[in-house]
């Protein structure tokens, strides 16, 4: 879920587009060589690109704790998880490349601030419990969204999602397990866990994007089968799934309006602060500046490395040609 507020292009009514829509309605996957409306292609490039960038930027808040993980086992698990995130970035860039946009182009758009990544990664990881909260809440919210994306109409994205979902469920379990141990630990550890809950709850709910009534892109994305469920439906499912887990952990959900609603068979809950959300998306969150700077620095500082290897490959190729 790592894509929010993806701007969706408009559909047209040509016979080709009608035939395309029929394929989607019939549940037939669209593959890279198939004809597709330009709007569909552009929307997917934006969505997959955002998703890939989120995986890559998402390494930073968790990577922040690799050197400080409290045990060897926790360190190994966290390394494995962050490695998975980078791997997800790689398959998503590959999926986007099938739509005719290169990884370098997408990276340049990210670094220029033209392409977005999930708002959630602009919050800081301030304690070890935050690593638990990211796994449990953030990856939990991501899974909720990604499970439906496994049925996305675009074949390569759908297949990438199937693979990613398997790894994400391990991520969520490890996050929950970090919090389980903290919640059963000392008073200071419990306090650390509750503090993480207080800070990550609302930003996690915001991950689903604005309310359906304000979400201008949802309807077309759903017709095209890019999206299979609305922001509010997914958010509701997430809350219904997560609140009993918080109760089990002994953590208080920081929402005074949270209440079980027998009639709807789900929880009623408060409205996230959408001003905060739009502000973070605009670039004014607590870590937007640091996150982009870190990625720009990695890219700029790594130019000599990439150029060096390209030059070496070229020398090897030339030597091979000369030998033949």
């Amino acid at each position: 879920m790592y894509a929010q507020l993806v701007e969706t292009e408009k559909a047209g009514g040509t016979p080709e587009e009608q035939a395309f829509q029929k394929r989607i309605d019939d549940g037939i996957k669209i593959e890279p060589k198939d004809w597709m409306p330009e709007g569909y292609r552009k929307t997917l490039v934006r969505q997959i690109g955002q998703h890939a960038h989120s995986e890559v930027v998402g390494q930073l808040p968790e990577g922040n704790w690799i050197t400080r993980a409290p045990t060897l086992e926790r360190k190994a698990i966290l390394l494995a998880k962050v490695q998975d995130e980078a791997g997800h970035g790689l398959y998503l860039y590959c999926a986007a490349e099938t739509l005719g946009v290169s990884r370098d182009e997408m990276t340049e758009q990210l670094l220029a601030g033209k392409s977005k990544y999930s708002s959630i990664f602009n919050y800081p990881t301030l304690s070890w419990a935050d690593i638990g909260a990211i796994g449990w809440l953030v990856d939990g919210a991501a899974i909720m969204n990604q499970v439906q994306l496994q049925r996305c109409s675009y074949g390569p994205y759908s297949r990438a999602m199937i693979r990613i979902c398997k790894e994400e469920s391990f991520h969520q379990r490890q996050g929950f397990d970090i919090l389980r141990v903290l919640c059963q630990g000392s008073d200071e550890q419990k306090e650390m866990a509750q503090d993480a809950m207080n800070r990550w709850w609302w930003p996690s709910l915001m991950m689903f994007g604005p309310s359906d009534k304000d979400s201008v892109h949802t309807a077309q994305s759903m017709r095209w089968g890019i999206k299979q469920a609305t922001n509010d439906d997914l958010r509701q499912k997430f809350v219904d799934q997560t609140v009993p887990q918080a109760d089990w952990l002994g953590l208080k959900v920081p929402d005074p309006e949270l209440k079980w609603n027998e009639d709807k068979g789900g929880y009623d809950f408060g409205e996230p602060d959408w001003n905060e959300f739009f502000n973070v998306v605009k670039g004014n969150g607590p870590c937007n500046k640091e996150r982009l700077e870190a990625r720009r620095k990695a890219w700029d500082d790594g130019a000599w490395f990439r150029d060096g290897l390209m030059a070496h490959a070229e020398k090897k190729r030339a030597a091979k040609v000369a030998a033949e």
């Binding site: 993980a69 000392s186 990695a298 290897l309």
Partner: protein, 250 residues
């Protein structure tokens, strides 16, 4: 003299642990996504190796110290990693050169250890050597590719080699603890390990168009707990949670 077998296990484990700390610092900051993945993967292998060696050391010591106790509750002077692995990530060239020099010693050392007279050492080495073969294939390729790349990549790799080469003395050093273990067949004789290291690095640096500095400068001491000034900061960061909240579970 400290118990030789325990010291040996700690030296192996500490090398892996401190190198993993340095490797882990790259997460999300490497020059290409493939390198982020590779560094995380190597870090993961190194943490696994740390767990194996420190567990064995703790058991041999018999004082009930777990691998975590040894990793998180010893002080700077009690760590016995070579100084090479604690050297900072000045740039990616330093990180790769540090890894390569370590691998160039690690592989022949493990190769010898798979013939150890001690069954436990044989078992650990047989597992670890598979990972290290992969590590050196990667680090060697990159050293060659970047040495024989552009002018800038060669200059950076040469700079890293100039700076890190003196620390290989620590990697190849041996003392009476090693002599005792060699005599009992627990660890290999140092001579063939040094020979293999020299052959490996000579061939690689020739292909990479890099030159080993002949300043005669050597830096040693890590294996006996004498470290560079970087070490205290590595431990302060690594041990922070265990030191701040002693005695709890994580």
């Amino acid at each position: 003299m400290m118990d030789p077998f325990v010291t040996f296990c700690l030296r192996m484990g500490d090398n892996a642990l401190i190198l993993a700390q340095r490797t882990g610092e790259w997460c999300g900051h490497a020059p290409a996504l493939e390198e982020d993945i590779a560094f995380a993967n190597m870090g993961l292998d190194l943490i696994g190796q740390t767990q194996l060696w420190l567990k064995l050391g703790g058991e041999a010591e018999g004082k009930g110290r777990s691998a975590d106790d040894l990793a998180f509750l010893r002080t700077e002077r009690q760590f016995t990693n070579c100084q090479l692995v604690e050297q900072p990530n000045v740039d990616f060239a330093h990180a790769l050169m540090r890894q390569y020099l370590f691998d160039a010693w690690h592989l022949p050392m493990l190769d010898g250890l798979t013939q150890s007279s001690d069954e436990r050492v044989r078992a650990v080495s047989a597992k670890v050597i598979k990972e290290v073969r992969y590590h050196i294939d990667r680090s060697r390729d990159l050293v060659i590719g970047l040495g024989d790349g552009t002018d800038e990549s060669r200059a950076r790799m040469q700079g890293a080699l100039d700076e890190l080469w003196p620390f290989t003395a620590d990697l190849l050093a041996s003392d009476e603890i090693d002599d005792d273990l060699t005599a009992r067949g627990v660890i290999p004789d140092p001579a063939p390990v040094i020979e293999a290291f020299n052959a490996e690095t000579a061939a690689t640096f020739a292909a990479a168009t890099l030159t080993v500095p002949h300043t005669g400068l050597t830096r040693t001491g890590g294996r006996n707990g004498i470290h560079t000034e970087h070490m205290g900061f590595i431990l302060a960061e690594m041990q922070y949670l265990q030191r701040t909240y002693p005695g709890v579970s994580w």
